[in-house]
């Protein structure tokens, strides 16, 4: 193994670990912000770590079958595979993004979700299955505007290569895709609301309706891994959006800042809106964001 690939591997591992930590960090920050909005104190910043350690130190783990046991592992596999394809900066920080373009990233993202869904299925809890059905329906909804936005980007940059898209945005805020192509940006931001599964689109894991949805049957270690992967996934998704629409980042700290700022947006939207019904969620994405997306794509092509 050459030193170059060795460095790349080390950076990758660091990014993976860092994404876990950063994911937890912004998660607890969000919880604190939510608490402040509600005039509460909120949990300490280290709370997610405590939760994960606690879950990991549970004494019993119950499973309903092989898929429930394997599911979290596969989920972790899927998320890490997604993570390493997203560039987090320049040089080694592009990780392994030269092994797949935007389409690849978009598809490999679903790997983890499928694994999760399978695990939920094996658990045999109807609440979990309902949660998955809701989640998939929501995905079917928000993917349309999201795809429109991404296709617009590909059309504009003549490339599906994330690194190229980042490179095309250099030179100030005005050159960021979100601002240079406002329709595309708006579409992506609206689709992102669905992607982040915050309120008002948190019907998949709605605690009061379907227990906690997909994770109903998962406790202990399984839950711990799910929390970890969720944290990583949030970072991955946000990093991708930052790369695509907000000019990427020259170093990891700016990226972290951008991720955090971007994360605040669905959070605040969620604080304002109550949960949508499933049909409304689905139709919402297929109405306005899609319309805007089509306009954006039309502008991008012609």
């Amino acid at each position: 193994m050459s030193t170059d690939s060795m460095y790349r591997l080390l950076v990758t591992i660091a990014v993976i670990l860092g994404s876990i930590i950063y994911g937890f960090f912004i998660n607890s920050l969000a919880r604190r912000i939510t608490a402040r909005v509600q005039n509460r104190m909120g949990p300490p910043l280290k709370q997610p770590f405590i939760d994960v350690i606690k879950l990991y130190s549970k004494r019993t783990f119950v499973t309903h079958g092989i898929m429930q046991t394997l599911g979290p592992i596969l989920m972790l596999t899927g998320i890490i595979s997604t993570l390493i394809l997203i560039p987090y900066g320049k040089g080694y920080l592009t990780l392994y993004s030269s092994n797949g373009d935007l389409i690849t990233i978009l598809y490999i993202m679903t790997f983890g979700q499928l694994a999760m869904a399978l695990a939920v299925g094996q658990a045999g809890n109807p609440y979990g299955t309902i949660g998955v059905a809701r989640g998939l329906t929501r995905m079917f909804g928000y993917e349309l505007p999201l795809i429109l936005a991404l296709i617009s980007l590909i059309a504009l940059n003549h490339s599906a290569d994330v690194n190229v898209i980042i490179a095309n945005q250099h030179g100030g805020i005005a050159n960021w895709n979100a601002f240079r192509h406002p329709f595309v940006g708006i579409t992506a931001l609206l689709a992102m609301l669905g992607m982040m599964s915050y309120q008002p689109f948190d019907n998949a894991s709605a605690p009061a309706e379907v227990a906690s949805g997909p994770i109903t049957e998962f406790g202990g270690k399984f839950m711990a891994i799910m929390m970890t992967t969720n944290a990583m996934f949030v970072v991955a998704k946000l990093a991708l959006l930052v790369d695509l629409f907000f000019g990427g980042a020259s170093n990891i700290f700016i990226l972290a800042l951008k991720i955090f700022l971007l994360y605040l947006y669905p959070l605040f939207v969620g604080l304002v809106f109550p949960r949508f019904a499933m049909e409304d969620t689905f139709l919402f994405f297929w109405k306005w964001p899609t319309l805007i997306g089509f306009i954006g794509l039309a502008i991008a092509i012609f």
Partner: protein
């Protein structure tokens, strides 16, 4: 000895033995399997030979057959899938009512298909086409479904319309070039209008077989009412004949330049005709997927899924670029693999349980582990999730569409493939996961032959996921074979990486990365030393403290995506099927009206005679 004659002989022997021994199960099946596998081996052995026309049979110089790699590609698919389907039928059709003639007609279908794939003239192509349609029609009648006649008839009538559309265009061509040979076709003798007519009629003929919307109305019924092992073949190999026909007729004989002559769009660098094909494919992919998502019957879902998947293939053909055609050929293979596997799995489940609806099943993972694995691999391929073979199709297709600047179409196609994820999940969830029904506690695993038949394609899919380049090498060769003079570009494949002007993708590295990450995650996962994992019963789930019994229907499987149904309800009520049904009803009403011309009154007939006399006299004496 002539290769083609040998293959024809081997297959005919199989066919004859299926007739001769139609009552002796072992002898009949073994001879069919032997003949198919010998023919398959033969084709594979001579796979590389593709030069020179070999005339196999001559009737006034009408019939020409050619043994080349492009045909062999499809023949391997036909024989391979046919072999698997017959293998699976051994147990599936056992002691069912239509068993004896099932094999006869199955072999007839295969004969017709092999004939049409090797043929290089329109007449023998048409004969093979009709034999295939007839054979499959007869096979559908061998199933045990009550309403098989209705759907088989629908299939046959619509196929007939397609075949006649084809026949019509054949005569238009024959009338001008005075030959049925593909190579005799010369687009310069046709006017623009004639070419347009030709393209439309030819496409209708093939799109009907490929069940592209709006010609798909036969598909759900015919796929679901056939004996299901045959449906594996039907969907896995036979529906591709439409695609093959489009390849041969559009790009093989008519040629891109002729297609471009009918109208060329500068911006998209395609003709309007191809543009229409692409959009038909996109609409099919999307609406087929939507129908599949909303169906409650496993067979119907798979049928609509096939409709949708054929849409992807049509898109590739419509694009007409090397990348697009490669995508189509690749998808022909992957779809052949996963649909065969899935239909055989479903056949096994229905064979063992007798249930066909999603909400009547569930929790079969422990009963049928092999079927579960096959399904898992198949749906991952179906949904196009990277480490397996399905993603290569998706990647090639999207890149091809983007290359042609068809961005809207790309977006909707991608959405359709997300939709495929939805129904794929339902397929595995409602059949294998969730709560097992009480009456299915001692369901036996799938029969051995079916297990073999469902696992072999699964292995193929895994293999293709890591080494798609091996297939791409061949598809590049095929595309060179069928006279495409425009895009000689080819898909650049260096080792395992795919590159084109828009993007890149490295199948092997990505696949290996996933495997390595999986291993690492597993190790991490099991780090905790004394973790004790309890396997608990299926009823030990969170039920808000309520106690439930096995009789309680605890599966969420009926109206699974009810949200989507509710949301799209105003749109869903319009369907082509309803429209066609309406039209046929109106037509029958018309026929009733026409029938009344014959009033049964002699005086009226006399009046008719007089009127006719007057008309005739006026016509001839003026």
């Amino acid at each position: 000895m002539n290769v083609l004659r040998t293959i024809a002989l081997i297959l005919s022997l199989g066919f004859l033995s299926s007739i001769l021994f139609y009552k002796i199960r072992e002898l009949r099946n073994l001879s069919i399997i032997a003949s198919l596998s010998v023919a398959l081996g033969f084709v594979i052995k001579f796979f590389g030979i593709y030069t020179g026309i070999k005339r196999a049979f001559s009737y006034k110089d009408l019939f020409y057959f050619k043994f080349d790699a492009f045909s062999n590609f499809f023949v391997v698919l036909i024989l391979g899938v046919g072999l698997l389907a017959i293998l699976a039928s051994w147990n599936y059709m056992k002691e069912k009512k239509g068993e004896t003639f099932f094999y006869v007609f199955f072999m007839l279908t295969i004969l017709g298909m092999v004939g049409l794939v090797y043929s290089r003239d329109m007449l023998s192509f048409f004969i093979g086409w009709e034999v295939m349609t007839m054979g499959s029609f007869l096979v559908i009648l061998q199933s045990n479904e009550k309403d098989r006649f209705k759907f088989a008839l629908r299939y046959f009538i619509i196929s007939l319309i397609g075949a006649y559309s084809l026949l019509w265009s054949m005569f238009i061509i024959y009338n001008k070039v005075h030959s049925f040979k593909f190579s005799a076709f010369n687009s310069s003798v046709f006017t623009k209008g004639e070419l347009t007519t030709l393209l439309i009629t030819i496409s209708i003929g093939f799109l009907i077989k490929a069940a592209i919307m709006p010609f798909h109305t036969w598909a759900s019924g015919a796929y679901s009412r056939s004996p299901l092992t045959f449906t594996a073949f039907f969907s896995g190999a036979m529906s591709k004949m439409g695609i093959y026909g489009l390849f041969i007729f559009l790009y093989g004989s008519i040629g891109l330049s002729a297609i471009y002559k009918t109208g060329y769009n500068e911006f998209f660098q395609t003709s309007y005709f191809q543009y229409t094909l692409v959009w038909l494919g996109v609409i099919t992919a999307f609406l087929g997927t939507l129908r599949a998502i909303l169906s409650e019957d496993i067979r119907v879902m798979l049928a609509y899924s096939s409709v949708g998947q054929l849409g992807y293939m049509l898109i590739g053909i419509g694009l007409g670029s090397t990348l697009g055609l490669t995508a189509t050929l690749f998808h022909v293979v992957t779809h052949g693999l996963f649909k065969t596997s899935l239909f055989i799995v479903v056949a096994a489940i229905i064979h063992r349980t007798g249930k066909t609806k999603f909400h009547e099943l569930g929790g079969l993972i422990n009963n049928m582990p092999i079927a579960f694995i096959a399904t898992l691999i198949s749906i991952i391929t179906l949904a196009g999730i990277p480490p397996l073979g399905g993603f290569a199709t998706k990647w090639l297709l999207y890149e091809a569409m983007i290359e042609k600047r068809m961005f809207f179409a790309t977006a909707i196609t991608m959405l359709a493939s997300i939709g495929a994820f939805l129904y794929a999940y339902r397929l595995i969830q409602n059949l294998f996961l969730g709560q097992r029904k009480l009456e299915h506690d001692d369901v036996k695993p799938a029969p051995l032959t079916m297990q073999i038949a469902m696992l072999i394609p699964a292995l193929g899919m895994v293999f293709l996921g890591f080494f798609p380049n091996l297939l791409i090498k061949y598809t590049n060769l095929f595309i060179e074979l069928i006279n495409i003079d425009f895009f000689k570009l080819g898909v650049k494949v260096t080792d395992t990486a795919f590159t084109n002007s828009y993007g890149y993708w490295n199948a092997f590295y990505l696949g290996s990365a996933v495997v390595i990450i999986f291993i690492v995650s597993t190790i991490y996962y099991n780090l905790q030393r004394r973790a004790k994992i309890y396997k608990i019963g299926q009823l030990d789930i969170y039920t808000a403290g309520e106690y439930v019994t096995r009789e309680t229907p605890l599966n969420y499987s009926f109206n699974f995506y009810g949200f989507i149904f509710d949301s799209l309800k105003p749109a869903i009520k319009y369907s082509v099927t309803n429209f066609i049904t309406r039209i046929s009803k109106e037509f029958i009403a018309l026929s009733d009206f026409v029938r009344r011309i014959y009033t049964g009154n002699g005086q009226h007939y006399a009046i008719f005679t007089m009127i006719f006399t007057i008309i005739t006299l006026i016509y001839f004496l003026s």
